[in-house]
């Protein structure tokens, strides 16, 4: 088989087709590879690239080139959506990712969402970056990452109150999550229209560990599926990343209708594959190992993941910005060379 172009390979895997080898990617968003070393080498830096489509595109392309990841991923944070809904964001520094400073609302009961939210702010910047990248690099999959409904809701309402109100204010919770999901679907639509090959959804607050299986099913699975369904209607594939331990929530994963599921480092993808053979799996090279481990160990682990039949090789979670290029390229090279 001739080596596939990165775009074909990723789309092939997501379409459950047989490909020459698993792609090695890093989606962007909470899992982005805009490390300090790349920024210093290229002079393309954060936080500036959070605010300009041209700068975001240039940095994303440079990240892909230097790291060897077989996709181009935007944006470089998971605060774009919360900002659309009015939360105050600390946009961080070159080495530190943006974070929520103050949520827009104190309670789910007070949430009001303006209908034009998806067409404003940095949503426009990300769409512009996607547009530039998809024109410039037709051979590469452009992965645009969204923050999932539960995590967005927990970033616009004080998270402690939010978590309690998932139980005590169910009606409000469903109303807000429905409205948030609708805005996210519209934003995803703009990204697909701009040329995004794949939409990835990272939903770090919506974990089985935090919510428990019952609330995970009631809120996370339901609204993730609503969002994925809306994106599927535009004929774009979706990858979902679920953080944390799964425990007895593992059985809920096949209920997600995404085209691939990515999990954290502590989850055994080998076992997940055995339990649910139909799942397309992505992951899950420990970001701790990536940050601290010697390159040969990193390469070894990457090859092990390939051997275990993981469909897409990727970091397990958010990368530290102090991770070195030597470590990341050890990972990407090992996957490309394959098991000896």
């Amino acid at each position: 088989m001739n080596p596939l172009a990165p775009r074909e390979r990723l789309l092939g895997v997501l379409g459950k087709k047989l490909v020459d080898r698993p792609p090695v990617i890093c989606t962007g968003g909470m899992m982005n590879a805009a490390i300090v070393e790349v920024m210093q080498k290229t002079g393309l830096t954060l936080p500036e690239a959070h605010f300009s489509g041209a700068k975001m595109a240039a940095l994303a392309e440079a990240v892909s080139e230097h790291t060897g990841f077989e996709n181009i991923g935007v944006p470089f944070c998971m605060t774009v959506e919360a900002e659309l809904f009015g939360s105050r964001i600390d946009h961080g520094t070159l080495a530190c990712e943006p974070k929520i400073q103050t949520e827009a609302f104190t309670s789910l009961t007070k949430v009001k969402i303006s209908p034009g939210a998806a067409r404003a702010g940095r949503a426009v910047v990300v769409a512009e970056a996607v547009d530039r990248l998809s024109r410039k690099r037709p051979d590469f999959p452009v992965v645009a990452t969204l923050t999932g409904p539960v995590s967005v809701a927990a970033s616009i309402v004080d998270p402690v109150t939010f978590l309690k109100e998932l139980r005590t204010r169910r009606e409000d919770a469903h109303r807000v999550l429905g409205e948030v999901t609708a805005v996210l679907a519209e934003y995803a639509g703009a990204l697909v229209a701009a040329g995004a090959t794949v939409i990835a959804v990272g939903d770090p607050t919506s974990t089985v560990e935090i919510l428990g299986p019952q609330l995970f099913q009631e809120y996370a699975v339901r609204y993730l599926n609503d969002l994925i369904g809306a994106i599927h209607a535009l004929a774009a594939p979706v990858i979902v990343h679920i953080c944390g331990r799964l425990g007895n929530g593992t059985r809920l994963l096949p209920g997600l209708i995404s085209d691939a599921i990515s999990v954290d480092a502590m989850v055994s993808l080998k076992r997940l594959k055995a339990d649910a053979p139909a799942l397309v799996t992505m992951g899950n090279l420990s970001t701790y190992l990536l940050q601290w481990g010697p390159p040969d160990k990193i390469a070894e682990r990457a090859v092990e993941l390939v051997r275990d039949g993981v469909n897409i090789i990727a970091p397990a979670c958010g990368l530290s910005t102090s991770t070195t290029l030597a470590s990341i390229t050890a990972m990407t090279r090992a996957v490309k060379e394959g098991p000896s």
């Binding site: 974070k99 400073q101 309690k164 139980r167 935090i210 428990g212 609330l215 425990g247 701790y288 601290w292």
Partner: protein, 224 residues
């Protein structure tokens, strides 16, 4: 203890466990009317209920939302009973812990849970909130006469600040007086060992176990 008293105490404990704040407050007030020792109300009622909630959390029957709602009920009950504790009542302090998030956003839920569970276990907790500079941890721990500093982070990039706290304690030769425990999403036991922390906990109940161990064995040498 009369039968009425023990029944009231167990109902108070049940109300906390059932996440019923209004009922917890009502029972706490009834306890005062019945002239039952508020100290017992706190220990055998409120704290007992919260401990049982912690057990369910550990058994993965309760999760974070449930634990947070239970703690609201417990604190509401405490607000009723605490003003009625006789002055000079026996302190139930197991130690003083200064906790805070080195750098993070408002998702410092884990740190809040650690505070709740440490308080339930009888520790006095000084919560410094989030984005706390290393120097502040050390200063506040010394001024509070703390036995333990609990550090949490959500950002991998700021994990260096954790070793900075330890370095500052070393400089002041305060490591035997003030122990350091670490936790948070990107932190692991390996990382704790690497920076020379005295303990690592993966979650809130783990943090109680570690803090208890650090208090019981103050002279124990740390993992190199």
């Amino acid at each position: 203890m009369s039968q009425e008293e023990s029944s009231l105490l167990s109902r108070l404990s049940d109300a906390v466990l059932a996440m019923d704040e209004a009922e917890t407050v009502r029972l706490a007030q009834e306890l005062l009317v019945q002239r039952i020792d508020p100290g017992r109300g706190i220990e055998a009622g409120l704290v007992d209920g919260m401990r049982r909630a912690g057990d369910l959390f550990e058994r993965e029957e309760y999760f974070i939302p449930e634990l947070l709602i239970c703690s609201d009920a417990m604190y509401a009950g405490l607000r009723v009973l605490q003003p009625h504790l006789p002055s000079g009542a026996a302190e139930r302090k197991k130690g003083i812990v200064v906790i805070g998030v080195v750098e993070g956003d408002t998702h410092d839920i884990g740190k809040n849970l650690v505070r709740i569970m440490l308080e339930t276990a009888g520790f006095e907790v000084v919560d410094l909130g989030r984005d706390v500079p290393p120097a502040t941890f050390v200063e506040r721990a010394e001024s509070a006469g703390a036995h333990i500093i609990g550090l949490s982070t959500l950002m991998t990039t700021t994990m260096g600040a954790m070793s900075e706290v330890i370095r500052r304690l070393d400089e002041r030769q305060a490591r035997s007086r003030i122990k350091v425990m670490v936790g948070g999403g990107p932190v692991s036991q390996q990382f704790a060992n690497r920076i020379g922390a005295d303990g690592y906990a993966a979650n809130a109940s783990g943090a109680v176990a570690v803090a208890t161990r650090l208090r019981q064995a103050p002279a124990e040498s740390r993992v190199p």
